[in-house]
Symmetry: D3
Subunit: 193 residues, 6 copies
């Protein structure tokens, strides 16, 4: 059977890409063992690719008051709300690995209100979903609720920035129908021996 | 009367900023006669600032099958749907100037379906609003409708990328309550003599 | 370029109208310097015209616990929610003039939650929007909230009556596609010298 | 048991009312055998009362391309969508009488799509509900659909005007919690002998 | 005039049915004086018929902390929310009879928030509607609110089970367009002499 | 670490159950290697348990024009729309096994419009989601669309019955917070060797 396309738009060959983009893709391949399709699909537009991953690194990779697990929870919860195949499947895998928990990603993708999380993470995701669906109604009251759970204003910026960045990411992935690599579905589901 | 704050978060002084960001802001000030508040508010996070404006330049400033007026129409229509003060007021000003039309921004912000636009721009905005509100339901049928109005697949990517980028931008501006500069309200409303 | 039509329906000439309607229109023209299009568009149905403006006068012009500025705020906020071109553009102009504030109408039209208003006016608009969108869920609790901001029961009736009357007005203007006069866009934006 | 109040607001005695309003109410009482509560509740504001019933008469009582039964169908369908007790119960009674059909009002109040009506009335109610819920999206296409069912543009104005007037009426009745008279519940349910 | 069909699907004759189903239907006919159409329409699928009425009996007929009137209120409120002709008309009749109140069914079908019910029943219906529309958001807070009105956890299960069972029932009746018998419309409206 | 509870309500011990229910549960345990929690949670109410599983067997287990894979697709798509943890996780496992496809359940749970399914299954799920969310608007047009994809009227009943039954099932599982067994998450993800 032929493999379905990974994007509605043309997908460049790795060799044809500008060297900085090629290097980033090869580094990811080295680390993961495969090239996540979002890299190939977005490389169709090199300038957007560079800005996209620079934003991603700024909100997902730096040190922050949010743990890496919490950041992935925000990605999975908001991307599920936006019904984004690529982001839920791929970041679901990352969340399972970060959290060392094979159940948490499916729980959050389905209904974070019933997931195995505590009140701090519940408040974090309530706010992330408000940013996802109704940012225009955010208010001082939301900030106060988050502060009462120990979040600083910098943490609140981070929650909003992650939910905001995936508002962009989900829309591009849904319109382009970027296909999650098959590898993601199983990642993080088995205990490492 | 004291001026209301321009952001919920700390706003750095221009002098304190990294030199590349300072230069960008001074160049905008030179051109516009004032510093749009979004530059100051986002400069609180230099790495996000750089990625944000790199994305903006990639989707708003390059040559494209969409005219600059059309791109501003997409910004105003989707930002109004998201009820984003900063983006509607500031890009409304840019749209009036680009279109040399003092009415079009208020029309599109209120209800693009009743605005003075033709069928091509109506189809463009219908799709932009779908990306804004329901990207998960975009389909081949949408691509065919847009192609029937003369849009190429590259144009469709551009529409989605602009709607997607302002999905991010609107959310950050709403959560941070970035205040549009007073100057924007009047820009482009009077014929140049 | 030909002027777009001001209504989907036939527009009577002023001369052809019954004398009471003609007089009202000429009085408005005398005061404003132009005839607002809603007068011409609705004059197609004289009996409805008379009832419409009698209602308008009863809820917008009489002495009341709500200031004239506050009444215009309700019109702009609810008409923006209903995406009514005519009412937002024309009453936006009136609001700027009444409030002597060139920014307030665009702020309220876009997102009253982030506008430069105090808690009393915020509570007033929260209730007006509830009447606009979900009057069936209004309750004693809403009355108590409004009373705690100093509104009397008569004031609450007024808020509901204005939101209700523009529920009618917005629907007629949207279906008939009544076009706001170009004059409205600039009114109240410049300080009087 | 004490009778529940008929309005959240003060209800004037008939004797205390201006003579034109008193006469109208007594005429209704003469004809119906009781005073419908909406007359008493709205008489609290005589000027609004006069405008309200003038509008009502203009859209509900005059000769028109819509039959009186069809006009009541529009009232019941839109008032049910707005969950308005007073209007659904009272105009449901009128609809049963006008249509000489004891079933039609409950059918339309519940779900007009499954009611015993033909394609013309279905198209009429589809448009009325669009005016009720989403007038800002009405378009030339809606006019064409209605014309294909034999409606003139004057008929389309009438449908919109009735849906618009009850948008106002429903909101006032819901906020004031105007109580339908017990008499309405049984009216028109039994064949006249 | 020919009678409209009672279902979109084939309707078996009573004689052709398995004996247990035939007996149940004849018993209902004996008691009510007519065969409610839902029995004939669902008998098209005997196994589903048996499970459906077994479920119905389990949640509607057994002894419980909810009175039979309260259970019918839940049916009418949730079925009206789902705009189900058959269930609102038929259970509206049952509710009038159980409550010995000719007004209550129409009130609850239209807008239970404005019906003649007390705070306990209001809390019960608020929860039933949440189960109807948004069960995924139910939480410990809902349980606490219900307990504060005197409902046991078993009562809460019952409310959810009735709202859940009619979520099924309403969907089958709407898709099959099961027609309520004409007899239901008048039942319980007249005082028994 | 203690295991979280499997239901908000009391969970009976298998030994304490009526013999028919005990037998059914032991048979499932024999076949699956564990007792799915829904059996224990619902056994709290034996009569409802019996009716629930009789309904389940009638719509999910009998021969039908829908394949068993297709029936599980309907369950997963509608249960995901209702954000039901138990049903999506458990029936996702069954769907993977029935379809011998480790990807399909996560795809359909996230966004069936972008899943690896053909036009027949797409039409089937479009209708199932309409029954799930808006059954009151189903119409002859839906039947015609389904027939054009080869579905018989009996198949349409089956789609509606499955979507309807899980409308019930999802609501009970969400209110009771029935916890999916950990075993389900991995089932069907690995090729059988």
């Amino acid at each position: 059977m032929t493999q379905p396309p990974i994007s509605r738009f043309p997908v460049p060959s790795i060799e044809s890409l500008p060297s900085d983009i090629k290097e980033r893709i090869l580094a990811v391949q080295e680390k993961s063992g495969f090239v996540p399709n979002v890299f190939l699909a977005l490389a169709y537009r090199p300038d957007e690719f560079r800005a996209f991953f620079a934003y991603n690194d700024a909100v997902m990779e730096k040190d922050s008051g949010l743990s890496k697990t919490e950041r992935e929870m925000i990605v999975v919860a908001t991307s599920a709300t936006n019904q984004c195949h690529y982001c839920v499947i791929s970041h679901g895998a990352v969340l399972r690995i970060r959290a060392k928990n094979p159940l948490i990603a499916d729980q959050i993708a389905n209904n974070y209100r019933k997931a195995d999380i505590g009140p701090r993470q519940r408040a974090m995701l309530d706010f992330a979903i408000k940013v996802c669906l109704n940012a225009q109604a955010t208010s001082t009251q939301d900030f106060e609720t988050l502060r009462s759970h120990g979040f600083s204003d910098d943490d609140i910026w981070d929650i909003a920035a992650i939910a905001g960045f995936f508002a962009l990411s989900n829309r591009m992935a849904s319109v382009a129908e970027i296909r999650p690599n098959d590898e993601f579905y199983m990642m993080g589901r088995m205990p490492k021996s």
